[in-house]
């Protein structure tokens, strides 16, 4: 298996790294054109290589591996810099490089006026490097490098406008919350090393093969699965670690699209899918994954209803959609989860980019209450955003319909599934449809409600000063609209690869290697059932559309009345169920106050500083007294000498007497 393809693998991640290094080291002096050229060239050639790899890829030869260098050799345990390409990583590879490249292009337009342009492009390339390392890793440790690296890139990009306190705080929050998840991931890796002696995917999965299902519940595989899920929950913003993602919207909008919607946050799903051998042998861990995913999907969707910031709505929508993917993984339908991951990358990336275009067009305003009627001002943005909205709501034949329907069907019919998952999934689909069309109607329909007179309104998202005084909303430049158009096409056709289970068959070699055969027996009887369920989910989407239309177009006075009549419930939801406040009381306050009172005031100041300071001041006091002996008076010196001599004589006499 020494196709030239293998040799290309290592170049795919390295190219963006070279771009990041070039821009990061020399970008400050370069012109923006040169920076853009470097960033786009390196990211684009990675995409090109990915396309070549995809063209040469043949399922018969997969998986491809390439060993770059040795890393750790310790007894029988070894970890190497090795790359691994199978159907699963190919899908991820194409999504990451493709969407990533489009967002790079978009960023050229969006970030052009920013002073930190070179920094931004360098970070984006750095992110691509780590994400591709994560995706192409052949062992868990390399995956972990990528995993931590994308966390770093995420931190850097959320806090990109670091002079703004809220952005810096959001960056820190994302990083710290992710640390909690990474902790679980790391312990899972240690358990794997201890029990299986390897982190290499093929070797590990081969050693896992003889293991039976851990039906009684508590076993080492269950523990590993749960710990991996902790890591995935951190990275992919699932309950209870989802809190960082909405705050991460402080970052520039292309970042939200690339990292916090399309690629990085799906790393958890990828990791769970990659570890399917472990999860399939630990049903209770699978159950936990499914429950967490389902609850997150519903919970985040309800919060999305009451948000007014356009990016916050999309953020909660992302959390909710990620919940769907975990639901799919949890019921054993890994390929459905990856399918949704892919379509979600298209339409959610598009939604964020379109939202960025809207924000750009209205001069940095993010509050949907101050938008409205934008479809006449920015027709292309409106068109693409509409496609994305219908796609995420699950209207056939757009991408979201196929993947979401696949998940819901699997949630219902898979041996691990249950009608409860399906029901919550459908309710979530309804809510999703509602809040997405609410966003759509509020942004693009009705009359423009923003300030038109001057550019005085708060540049909330970005500090880029438009040269012109933002009189009217305007359409974005073509460099931004181009990626929108491509993603819009993908949002339409992206789901078609799943028709007739083709996507599933493509991924089947990965997920059925040594695993149980995931239920795909669609007999005649269940086929009608599948169509019935499909009808229900489409009906839910249509219902959401009509409800949103009724509330935000035809009877605009109703939402306020509902909000008032619900009173406390509404404030609870619009305040995100006070989860941040709860965490602050439960975890942050104790840690901060414990550190302040015990560690800082108690241990550091009371013990460490005090011992140093006290010994110094004791020495000072003693010497302060002793120094008076040196008076300059000759007779007192003589007196001391005589006294000393007397003491010595007395001592000797006394010793002699003894």
């Amino acid at each position: 298996m020494t196709l030239p393809l293998n040799g290309l693998l290592w170049a795919i991640p390295i190219l963006p790294l070279a771009g990041a290094a070039t821009n990061g080291l020399f970008g400050r002096q370069e012109s923006k054109k040169a920076i853009s050229a470097v960033a786009l060239t390196f990211c684009g050639s990675a995409f090109l290589l990915a396309l070549i790899v995809a063209a040469k890829f043949s399922s018969a030869d997969a998986p491809y591996t390439y060993s770059l260098a040795h890393w750790i050799r310790s007894g029988s345990f070894s970890v190497d810099f090795e790359f691994y390409l199978d159907q699963l990583s190919l899908v991820m590879l194409l999504v990451v490089t493709g969407v990533g490249f489009l967002i790079h292009i978009y960023s050229v337009g969006y970030m052009w006026d920013d002073d930190g342009y070179y920094r931004f492009m360098s970070y984006l390339n750095l992110f691509m490097f780590f994400m591709l390392t994560l995706v192409l890793a052949k062992n868990y440790l390399m995956m972990f490098i990528g995993w931590e690296g994308v966390g770093l890139a995420s931190y850097l990009l959320i806090g990109f406008w670091f002079t703004k306190d809220s952005a810096a705080a959001a960056g820190k929050k994302a990083f710290i919350v992710n640390r909690i998840g990474d902790f679980g991931f790391l312990i899972a890796l240690f358990l794997l090393i201890q029990h299986f002696g390897t982190l290499d995917f093929p070797t590990l999965f081969a050693r896992l093969e003889p293991f039976a299902k851990e039906t009684s519940g508590a076993g080492v595989l269950t523990a590993i699965g749960l710990l991996l899920m902790v890591g995935a929950a951190g990275k992919s913003a699932q309950i209870p670690l989802y809190v960082w993602l909405p705050d991460a919207m402080e970052g520039p909008t292309p970042v939200s699209a690339l990292i916090h919607a399309a690629t990085m946050v799906t790393a958890g799903v990828y990791m769970v899918a990659r570890s399917h051998m472990i999860f399939e042998r630990a049903p209770s861990a699978m159950m936990v994954v499914a429950i967490i995913g389902t609850l997150t999907a519903l919970f985040a969707a309800t919060i999305g209803i009451a948000q007014t910031d356009i990016k916050k709505v999309l953020a909660y929508s992302t959390v909710s959609q990620l919940g769907y993917m975990f639901m799919a993984c949890g019921v054993g339908a890994f390929s459905a989860g990856i399918f949704h991951l892919m379509t979600h990358a298209f339409f959610k990336g598009l939604l964020f980019l379109a939202a960025g275009s809207v924000i750009h067009g209205v001069g940095g305003e993010q509050d949907m209450r101050k938008m409205g009627g934008l479809r006449t001002y920015m027709p292309w943005t409106f068109l693409t955003m509409s496609i994305a909205t219908f796609a995420i709501a699950g209207f056939p034949p757009l991408a979201g319909f196929f993947s979401k329907d696949e998940i819901l069907w699997q949630a219902f019919s898979s041996p691990h599934g249950s009608w409860i998952f399906w029901l919550i999934g459908v309710i979530t689909a309804f809510i999703t449809s509602f809040y997405m069309f609410r966003l759509w109607f509020m942004t693009f329909f009705g009359d423009y409600r923003g300030a038109t007179a001057s550019g005085a309104h708060g540049h909330d998202d970005k500090a880029h000063g438009h040269g012109h005084g933002h009189g009217e909303p305007h359409e974005s430049p073509w460099v931004m609209l181009g990626p929108l158009a491509v993603l819009a096409v993908l949002s339409i056709v992206g789901g078609w690869v799943g028709i007739g289970g083709r996507f599933e068959h493509f991924l089947a070699p990965v997920f059925q290697a040594g695993g149980e055969v995931v239920a795909e027996t669609t007999e005649g009887a269940s086929k009608t059932m599948e169509y019935a369920l499909m009808f229900v989910s489409v009906a839910a989407a249509v219902l959401g559309l009509f409800l949103a239309w009724a509330l935000y177009i035809s009877r605009t006075e109703i939402p306020a009345r509902i909000a008032k009549s619900l009173g406390r419930l509404y404030t609870t939801v619009s305040n995100k169920y006070y989860v941040d406040e709860l965490y602050s009381v439960l975890f942050i306050k104790p840690v901060v106050e414990g550190s302040t009172e015990i560690l800082w005031h108690g241990v550091d100041q009371g013990v460490i500083d005090a011992s140093v300071n006290n010994s110094a001041s004791a020495a000072r006091h003693v010497s302060d007294n002793v120094r008076h002996m040196q008076s300059g008076n000759l007779r007192s010196y003589a007196g001391w000498v005589a006294a000393g001599g007397a003491v010595v004589i007395a001592y000797m006499v006394w010793m002699g007497v003894r």
């Binding site: 120094r627 040196q630 008076s631 300059g632 008076n633 000759l634 007779r635 003589a638 007196g639 005589a642």
Partner: protein, 101 residues
Amino acid sequence: MEIPLSYYLLLGGFLFVCGVLGFLIKRNIITIFMSIELMLNGVNLTFVAFAAHWHALSGQVFVFFVMVVAAAEAAVGLAIIIAVYRTRETLNVDQVNLLKL
């Protein structure tokens, strides 16, 4: 009749203590200098007394050394005293107190 050793030692000790007390009490540098000579000679007395008592010459050799050192010291010391007097116009040690912090 032979004079017992202790007599010499007591006399030597007495001379030495006189020297010490004189050194500590007196303020005039000349007097202090003379006190030092007194101490040296108290010690010399004990040396020769022991030398005579034990019939050992080393004690007497030591005395010669001490006397040579005392002579040299007297020369240097008197020179210092004259130098001090020329600069400070006093021989009171309490007023010569620059040797301090």
